[in-house]
């Protein structure tokens, strides 16, 4: 029996050693590899447009796939569809509940969705002469934190009731429910091949799910506070997360762990949103201190700042053609930078 206990103790020791080994290998490998890479040029972007039209805090924005149109949601109870280049508002969708927290544009450009403290995800059709509600997806028991369209008939939602769900829009029912988080799900991001998605929650974990099975494939630990923003890197192997602990982290799916951490001693504000440029080299992260910082993803260094907002930057987005960055803030303005 003594030997069994001894072996058990040894086995537990192995577990901590594995953790230490993981961290040690990641730190040395990535810093050595990054040293060989040329540094990114210092990036200075200017505000090219300021889109004024909202009357209250902007909570979310999302670009359409044509890289011209975008939708933004604000707590004045409106979803505005903008033609960002000309600055015109194409559509203003009045919301039943003004407490909106998220919005999304369908890849086809026909639909937009929004949701918030009403626990529902409402899908609107933009192509009818008057914008009509297609469906109200009501089955969550907590607020809707994020939603993303897979196509015109499917939508993924992340909710404050700690679950994510895949809905069939036509029938209005949940096809798959993803249960594993223990904290409110705050954000989600689809992989480029649309077979998996990743979600971040207030339990400081990010989880990778398979869309078809509904199972959690991998869990990524490393943050010490709520994960507010998450994004797949374009090659589908890496994930970047932003959290209230003022850091962003890059996780690799194969190595199953954190590989780079983007942090700065002077930064004391939590990350609210993030977006990647087309090549993936630059990451734009919006913070609570009214700025948006630009990070070099390979080297882990800050290469620029977008400052111009008068309140917290709540949402960031890069359009699919990568032409510019759009930041939305609680000061009710959207700024487009290039």
């Amino acid at each position: 029996m003594g030997e069994m206990e001894q072996m058990k103790k040894e086995a537990d020791g192995l577990k901590t050693q594995i953790e230490a080994a993981r961290k040690a290998v990641a730190d040395t490998t990535m810093s050595a590899a990054s040293a060989a890479v040329a540094p990114a040029p210092r990036v200075q972007l200017k505000t090219r447009r300021t889109l004024k039209g909202h009357l209250a805090k902007i909570y979310a924005m999302h670009w359409a796939t044509d890289s011209r149109l975008m939708v933004s949601a604000s707590q004045d109870g409106k979803l505005l569809i903008w033609d960002s280049h000309s600055g015109n508002k194409i559509n203003a969708v009045p919301l039943k509940s003004s407490w909106v927290m998220t919005c999304s544009y369908a890849p086809s450009g026909n639909l937009v969705a929004s949701g918030g403290l009403d626990n529902m995800c409402t899908v609107y059709n933009l192509k009818t002469p008057v914008v009509k509600t297609v469906k109200e997806l009501d089955a969550h028991t907590g607020y809707l934190a994020c939603c993303r369209f897979l196509s015109d008939s499917e939508i993924l939602t992340a909710s404050g009731d700690t679950t994510c769900a895949l809905w069939d829009i036509e029938s209005g029912k949940q096809k798959t429910v993803f249960l594993n988080h223990v904290g409110d799900c705050m954000c989600l991001s689809l992989s480029p091949d649309m077979n998996t998605f990743i979600s971040g929650a207030c339990d400081s974990l990010a989880k990778l799910w398979d869309v078809r099975d509904g199972t959690c494939k991998q869990t990524f630990q490393g943050h010490t506070s709520d994960v507010n923003a998450i994004s797949f890197f374009h090659n589908g192997n890496t994930v970047i997360t932003g959290s209230d602990d003022c850091t962003c982290k890059m996780f690799d799916l194969r190595a199953d762990q954190e590989v780079i951490s983007y942090q700065d001693a002077q930064l004391n504000a939590g990350v609210t949103s993030l977006a990647l440029s087309v090549s993936g080299r630059l990451m734009f992260a919006g913070y609570d201190d009214f700025n948006c910082n630009i990070w070099d993803t390979l080297k882990g260094e800050k290469v620029g700042v977008l400052s111009g907002h008068d309140n917290r930057v709540s949402c960031t987005g890069v359009p699919p053609d990568g032409m510019c960055v759009c930041t939305g803030s609680w000061d009710s303005f959207l700024k487009i930078w290039n």
Partner: protein, 523 residues
């Protein structure tokens, strides 16, 4: 990547040590299966003879061959294949012939050889201490002082620890050496290489441990860290490669032609890159060669591929793939009818556009169609996707159709920034120029090059900006040296600006001030 998980089981969720040990066992099992199929006489890696000094060693292969074989077998890109190959080398299933201590796979002509199953990780793990002692003793006897530093340390430590059986160790070492002398030279060299490779993997240069559990743990940890290290290197290099490949397509980092619509207010970029344009841009066509996904995600790319496949009479593959995509992302109510349609057109025996799927997948799909759902055709779709990716896609990139399109593709001219309030700017600059202009009308030698706006408007000239004051100083000095040719008239001009300073007082007007609307120089 979906294919790589066939070879490498993913690291377990639950962070317990028993899970990790199970994972390691599974990993070794998988690697062994790969190595066995690599050695298949018909479908395996190409083997040839390799010269090592004056001896010829049979059944060796180059790093290149290994990578190519892995790419073909698992339908993965060269990065992933290199990653798997590196694992095989690091875990001792393949060893390098030229530099045995460098346990990495180089995708060039470096020769490698398969390790004999006697020395495989799974059959002899953890490596026995006694065997290591015998190996070191042999090395010591054969050539005194050939042991490297950490081997010397290990030798001394083992000598202390298993002193009671040291005679046995030395005796065994001598016996083995004698037996090996009786073999042919080529065989002897091969066996020595194999043994050395085994010990290089299992006794890497780390400080020796003291107790049985520690050794097991250290070996296991060493394997795990090695696996992780390779994975991270592979990740990083994949990342760097992706960033570099896409940098020309990243407008924020590298700008774009003709111009960024957000800066110049010119929407030409969007017009020339739209779906229905007749001639695409060069960047766009080049992007199709990055990966099959890029080609398929561009509607124009899909149309081009379809045109090519129609010429090759294999368009049914792409049509099937498109139909499956439509099924996956389409409306729920239409699923049964869509599945039926697809079956009639592509899968039924004797169908007009029958697709070539292997029998196992076909059976499974036909079974699944009886209860149609959104993902029922996924396996078949994946099979056809990989078929196209492996076969049709590389051929398309080498075809005349693609090459012609690339040659015809346009590289748009750069358009300059248009000032938003252009007329006001022009007038403002002209007025500024008028105020600061010099006494005489400009002659070819004294062209005013110091003005920012002029430098910008002059196409093709260097954008170097001259210091205005320096320019005026030089001119004023020249003016002072030569006596004035005409009597100077006092001309009412606005007070000098502070940047010019006192030099202004030396420059006198001798002629009419140049009209603000008469433009001098190159405009």
């Amino acid at each position: 990547m979906p294919c790589l998980s066939k070879v490498i089981p993913s690291i377990p969720h639950e962070n317990t040590s028993s899970n990790f040990i199970k994972w390691l066992t599974r990993l070794s099992g998988q690697m062994e299966r790969v190595v066995v199929s690599m050695q298949d006489p018909d479908m395996g890696v190409k083997l040839r003879n390799q010269r090592l000094l004056i001896t010829v060693i049979p059944h060796a292969m180059t790093g290149n061959d290994i990578v190519e074989w892995l790419m073909q077998k698992f339908s993965v890109c060269d990065e992933e294949a290199l990653h798997v190959g590196n694992l095989l080398v690091k875990f001792g299933y393949i060893y390098p012939l030229k530099e045995p201590r460098v346990l990495t796979l180089r995708p060039d002509e470096t020769p490698y050889r398969f390790q004999t199953p006697y020395y495989w990780t799974s059959t002899r793990w953890p490596a026995s201490e006694l065997d290591y002692a015998i190996y070191l003793a042999k090395k010591n006897i054969r050539k005194q002082g050939e042991l490297i530093e950490h081997e010397k340390e290990s030798y001394n430590m083992l000598h202390k620890r298993i002193n009671h059986t040291w005679d046995f160790v030395v005796m065994q070492a001598r016996e083995q050496l004698r037996a090996s002398k009786q073999r042919r030279k080529a065989d002897r060299i091969v066996l020595e290489c194999q043994e050395q490779a085994y010990w290089l993997v299992n006794r890497p240069p780390v400080s020796p441990c003291t107790c049985r559990w520690d050794r097991t743990r250290m070996t296991f940890l060493a394997y795990f860290m090695c696996y992780l290290h390779i994975t991270l290197i592979s990740t990083h290099s994949g990342f760097v490669k992706y960033c570099e490949q896409y940098q020309p397509h990243d407008p924020i980092m590298q700008g774009c032609l003709p111009s960024n619509p957000w800066i110049t207010d010119d929407a030409m970029y969007w017009t020339i890159n739209s779906d229905s344009v007749a001639v695409p841009t060069k960047l766009r066509v080049e992007r199709w060669s990055f990966s099959f996904v890029e080609l398929l995600s561009d509607p124009m790319g899909q149309r081009e591929l379809m045109a090519y496949l129609e010429k090759e009479f294999s368009a049914e593959n792409l049509c099937f793939w498109q139909a499956c995509e439509d099924l996956r992302h389409g409306e729920n109510s239409k699923i049964p009818s869509k599945v039926d349609e697809i079956y009639k057109q592509f899968l039924a025996p004797g169908a007009t556009r029958w697709v070539n799927i292997d029998s196992k997948t076909m059976e499974k799909t036909l079974q699944g169609i009886k209860q149609p759902h959104r993902f029922v055709l996924d396996d078949a779709q994946m099979h056809i996707y990989f078929l196209m990716k492996k076969d049709s896609y590389p051929r398309y990139l080498r075809s005349e159709l693609y090459k012609n399109l690339l040659a015809r593709a346009v590289v748009p001219q750069e358009t300059k920034k248009r000032y938003r309030s252009s007329w006001w700017n022009m007038a403002f600059h002209r007025r500024r120029r008028c105020r600061r202009s010099l006494s005489r009308p400009t002659s070819p030698g004294t062209r005013l090059l110091g003005w920012r706006c002029r430098a910008r408007q002059v196409p093709g000239r260097s954008r170097v900006l001259y210091d205005v004051r320096h320019c005026l100083q030089a001119k004023s000095r020249r003016f002072l040296r030569t006596p004035p040719r005409r009597p100077h008239r006092h001309h009412a001009c606005p007070p000098p600006s502070s940047s010019v300073g006192t030099q202004r007082s030396h420059t006198l007007y001798t002629g009419p001030s140049p009209s603000p609307w008469k433009v001098t120089g190159n405009e």
